[in-house]
Symmetry: C2
Subunit: 227 residues, 2 copies
DNA sequence: TAAAAAAGTTAGTTTAATCTAACTATTTTT
DNA sequence: AAAAATAGTTAGATTAAACTAACTTTTTTA
């Protein structure tokens, strides 16, 4: 039905208009840089996606998802995140290895396959990077979360997801010894140099925005109940 | 490295020159009909595969695999059969559903992934259709087997694999109630009409070559030891 | 508000994989 | 050995997804 390429466009549009912004539309240039193609290429493709009623688009306008496009894009993300979970839980891959394989596996289209996989994994809610997994209807519940950079000195926060999924980032997270759901304390901030000192299991680490802008947290006051 | 298309060509050449014939070469027309494309298309592609040292070919000649091509093709078949096994054993798909999904999964190239999958499945020797699974080096041991049509009246034979993997065939096999490793008795043969009467768990079935030419068996005298 | 910058489009080209139609080579039959 | 049949090749066209270069529209800035 949809080509790999079309699926990748829809996935990127979901990411840009639902996960990473409150704006429900995106420009051709931004989409092009997200997909790592030239704007001319995107111009052509969004015309095609519009004809297929997957996006709303007219010349010189912004691109937004139709209901159908949103669902298709969400299903690609569902497949991606379920395969990542499978690779980690069942085949013992580490969280920095799963993404690249999932980029390919996500394009295998079969409702039955993915729902069986979901069941096999016991209907996981989050993937190895802490990202919510859309359900079989393409709906997703994204829990309230903030960036580590928004935390205040003295806060005790829980790490619930990583924003950057590159190997370099994940390897650094591994190196300083945190995993999803760990708690850390914001010891101090150096606003002049934009540095934050955090306490991870008693050890102090000085980190820059490259780190704090890519870690999602919940802070105590948002953690309802238990604790 | 290799495109989906190139992988499919190599897979078909392995099937035609190793699994289904003792001739280690195949013509352009036969390959074309196996791949369901026109001979002109194959002519172009084998030129390309030859340039990549995956096949031996020259104008108006037959096509044969190089060592490298044979290994690549075998690895596609390894992936196909391991995914089929995964789908059946872990995700509870029936044997008539696994092939189509495996046709897509087989093209996901990662040695690590496939070896982990192999391990996860406990290094299976055969896929759901009774076909041997090539090992991590692309080597395969195909057990000695005959077709059911070669069995003699009175023989008690064990079904070890199916040759035809279509849904229609597999559904028929299910319907008459046999599974791999079951034993059946050859009750009688009607040579005029090319019909064979077989005894499956006490029940008699009259079958044509459409059935007997697509069931692989071992007959008692080839079944060494146990029993 | 006019000029400059940014964003987006169009036209024409490329590559991989396919096709059709016409041609050539090889093999089989008479 | 010639004719007929079969097998295989070539040339030119098509499609999807990319590109570059040139152009146009929209937005920002002065
Ligand atoms: Mn990922
Ligand atoms: Mn992820
Ligand atoms: Mn199969
Ligand atoms: Mn099989």
């Amino acid at each position: 039905m949809l080509s790999f390429t079309e699926e990748n466009y829809l996935k990127s549009i979901v990411q840009l208009t639902i996960f990473e912004s409150t704006e429900r539309e995106v420009g051709v240039n931004k989409l092009a840089s997200c997909l790592d193609v030239k704007p001319a290429t995107v111009s052509d493709m969004v015309k095609k996606l519009n004809a297929k009623k997957l996006v709303n688009y007219k010349k010189y306008g912004k691109v937004s998802l139709t209901k159908k496009g949103r669902k298709s894009g969400m299903m690609v993300i569902r497949r991606h995140r379920l395969w990542e979970t499978f690779l980690q839980i069942k085949l013992n891959f580490s969280w920095d290895e799963v993404h690249d394989l999932a980029e390919e596996l996500e394009h295998i289209y079969s409702e039955k396959l993915i729902n069986r996989l979901d069941e096999f994994l016991d209907f996981p809610s989050f993937d190895p990077h802490g990202d919510a997994i859309p359900n079989a209807d393409g709906e997703i519940f994204i829990p309230f979360r903030k960036l580590l950079s928004e935390a205040k000195v003295g806060d005790i926060v829980k790490i619930i997801a990583v924003k950057d999924n590159t190997k370099e980032f994940l390897n650094y997270v591994d190196k300083i010894g945190i995993v999803i759901n760990d708690k850390i304390i914001i010891e101090s901030k150096d606003n002049f140099n934009s540095l934050t000192t955090i306490n991870i299991k008693g050890k102090l680490h000085v980190v820059s925005p490259r780190f704090t802008d890519n870690i999602f947290i919940v802070s105590p006051k948002f953690e309802k109940a238990k604790d």
